[in-house]
């Protein structure tokens, strides 16, 4: 088990290094235009431009830039934002709590409601309840996040004027973004937990538990729930990148002051140091979430632990 984890951490670290390298070369080297161009006033002289390039270290050979970047990166220095002149890492970390609040709530809501509906649907299979659950899940999977967000904003923000549709503030600011962001996950977890639960409920050990006279609710909650959670947990790791995409969309629509919003503005402003930090941060999150998933998996399934 420990060896398994060590292996995963090592691989995660390697992956990070590769991601840093890829992102560096893609943005710095293959970039089409001079990033400094849009920072300068239109009447700037070539000398001004040179000075600016030197300031950001863009006048050195590529490989030298790369090694310098790597060296600094390992010390926690990811350069300064072209646009704001502040350290890129700080700029991103400032925005992080807002994003975690939004994404975390959305994940929690989607996962808990999805599991709940999915299990009910499986246990009361082929009843009206199941039908409703399945139809809702189908629609939830089919509506794009940005469309849902706009529809909700239109109905509750514009027409009924019940809820704010932009910015971060009290709980009322959270409602629309969280709901529109969690819907896809909710639908997906509902479908997955339903099918996985049905499969588990058909297995021999469930019959065996019932033969022993265990009440059905206990069979579902103790025997079936733990077993059917295993694929759902794996699925969280697999869909985490989709959560990030959703986060960018929702933050853009609701002007949420988070990382997703920052990355969109930075990309159009060619603020590469910031983009790089965000890419690294997101990759880091994907890798750690997957590690977390592996640990949870091993906790749920002793077969992994005793491997």
């Amino acid at each position: 088990m420990q060896r398994y984890l060590l292996k995963r951490i090592f691989i995660g670290f390697l992956t990070m290094l590769v991601v840093i390298t890829i992102v560096f070369f893609l943005t710095r080297v293959a970039g089409p235009a001079d990033p400094t161009a849009i920072l300068l006033p239109p009447d700037a002289t070539p000398e001004d431009q040179e000075r600016l390039r030197a300031k950001f270290g863009l006048d050195k050979p590529v490989m030298e830039q790369y090694f310098l970047y790597m060296k600094n990166a390992l010390q926690g220095d990811f350069g300064e934002s072209f646009r704001f002149g502040e350290p890129a890492l700080e700029l991103v970390l400032e925005r992080l709590p807002a994003t975690i609040q939004l994404a975390g709530l959305a994940l929690f809501l989607g996962l808990s409601c999805g599991l709940f509906i999915g299990i009910l649907s499986a246990v009361y299979r082929d009843t009206v309840l199941d039908r409703i659950g399945r139809v809702l899940a189908l629609i939830g999977m089919a509506v794009p996040q940005f469309a849902l967000a706009l529809f909700l904003a239109l109905i509750f923000g514009v027409m009924l004027e019940w809820l704010p549709i932009s910015g971060r503030g009290g709980i009322s600011h959270l409602i629309l973004p969280v709901i529109s962001m969690s819907m896809v996950g909710l639908a997906a977890y509902t479908r997955l937990s339903r099918s996985s639960m049905i499969e588990v409920l058909n297995s021999d050990y469930i019959i065996m538990a019932r033969i022993k006279g265990v009440p059905y609710y206990r069979v579902v909650l103790v025997h079936a729930l733990k077993n059917s959670c295993i694929p759902v947990i794996t699925f969280i790791g697999m869909t985490f990148p989709a959560l990030i995409t959703g986060n960018v969309v929702i933050e853009t629509i609701f002007s949420w002051p988070g990382v997703g919003n920052l990355v969109m503005t930075s990309i159009f402003a060619r603020d590469y140091p910031v983009v790089q930090v965000i890419v690294l941060l997101l990759s880091f999150m994907v890798i750690s979430i997957n590690l977390l998933v592996d640990i949870t998996y091993a906790y749920l399934d002793p077969r992994i632990r005793f491997e």
Binding site: R3, L6, K7, F10
Partner: protein, 323 residues
């Protein structure tokens, strides 16, 4: 041993390494799946290999079929050693050995029609024209008792017994000298088992093929074999003709095995004689692997390697009590 056809297996051994490591794997142990297995059988006869799960039966099958490479040892077919042959030679050799496996539901490709399944070996070996192959398929189907209109159907339309007939027809398509039957009837219903066993016996009489039957069902093996080997934890513990083995089993494991088989006769109630379970092949006992469960255990059983020796003509056992 004579070299006139048939198969000779000499000191066949297969070890599987167990590896471990965070980044670079290293070997921390060895599972001796098959150890120094030797037997021979003449052309047209049947050799039965009996043993419980984990005794190395399927590894042996894989090695004879060329699907796995033995760690050491030789297999002679028609006097030719098939271990270490070139690719081309192995391909030619395929014509001589075919196989029928246990589960008729997993041994036929569900996406192919019966005629495609039966004729595939012919196609791969580029034998005959399309028309000739089709005729051959019909001939084979007749031989195994399938109606000709079955040729255009898919396997899922057949029951277990009929699927096993299809599998046998395919195995026969290249006119092999030998067929490995790996638990050929254990997945079938009782009333169907007898059909398939009779069919196999008929085919052997007609075509003079050699069979190697692998099974855990001693009654079935007794019924069709001429010679039987009993395996325990990767080793042959007894090797004898059917008559000798059943009338005069020497090795205590063979005796226990025979005594454990339930008999369909209420007048003949058996008592279980064997206590305990099969040890892990990862960490087998010292000396004779059977000694912890043996009721005739002597101090010398715990020491040294036990090899097969002839205790009476044609009757081999590894039990030190008969040395």
């Amino acid at each position: 041993m004579n070299n006139q056809g048939g198969i000779q297996v000499k000191n066949l051994t297969k070890h599987f390494p167990i590896t471990s490591g965070v980044i670079f794997s290293r070997t921390i142990g060895v599972v001796k799946a098959v150890e120094r297995l030797s037997f021979s059988i003449e052309r047209g006869k049947t050799f039965g290999l009996v043993g419980e799960s984990g005794c190395g039966k399927s590894t042996t099958v894989n090695m004879i079929l060329g699907l796995e490479k033995p760690t050491s040892g030789d297999i002679y077919i028609d006097g030719e050693n098939i271990i270490g042959l070139k690719r081309k030679k192995i391909f030619d050799l395929r014509r001589k050995i075919q196989a029928v496996f246990q589960d008729p539901f997993r041994s036929l490709n569900p996406r192919k029609k019966v005629k495609q399944i039966i004729s595939e070996p012919l196609l791969v070996h580029k034998i005959g024209t399309k028309k000739q192959r089709h005729e051959r398929v019909l001939e084979l189907m007749d031989l195994v008792g399938l109606k000709p209109d079955a040729a255009d159907h898919y396997p899922h339309e057949f029951s277990g017994g009929q699927r096993q007939r299809i599998a046998i027809a395919r195995a026969l398509s290249l006119n092999p000298e030998m067929i490995i039957l790996d638990e050929p009837v254990s997945a079938l219903d009782v009333s169907i088992q007898a059909q398939i066993i009779n069919l196999l016996v008929d085919i052997q009489q007609k075509l003079k093929v050699t069979y190697i039957v692998i099974s855990h069902d001693l009654a079935v093996v007794e019924h069709i074999s001429d010679k039987i080997g009993v395996m325990y934890l990767g080793q042959l513990v007894e090797l004898a003709s059917v008559k000798d083995l059943y009338n005069n089993p020497l090795h205590p494991y063979t005796q226990a095995l025979l005594a454990s088989v339930p008999i369909a006769d209420p007048e003949n109630i058996r008592e279980s004689v064997l206590e305990g379970e099969i040890p892990s092949p990862l960490n087998p006992p010292s000396g004779c692997y059977f000694h912890p469960r043996c009721n005739k255990m002597q101090p010398e059983c715990k020491k040294g390697k036990k090899v097969l020796h002839e205790s009476s003509p044609g009757h081999f056992t590894s039990c030190p009590l008969f040395a």
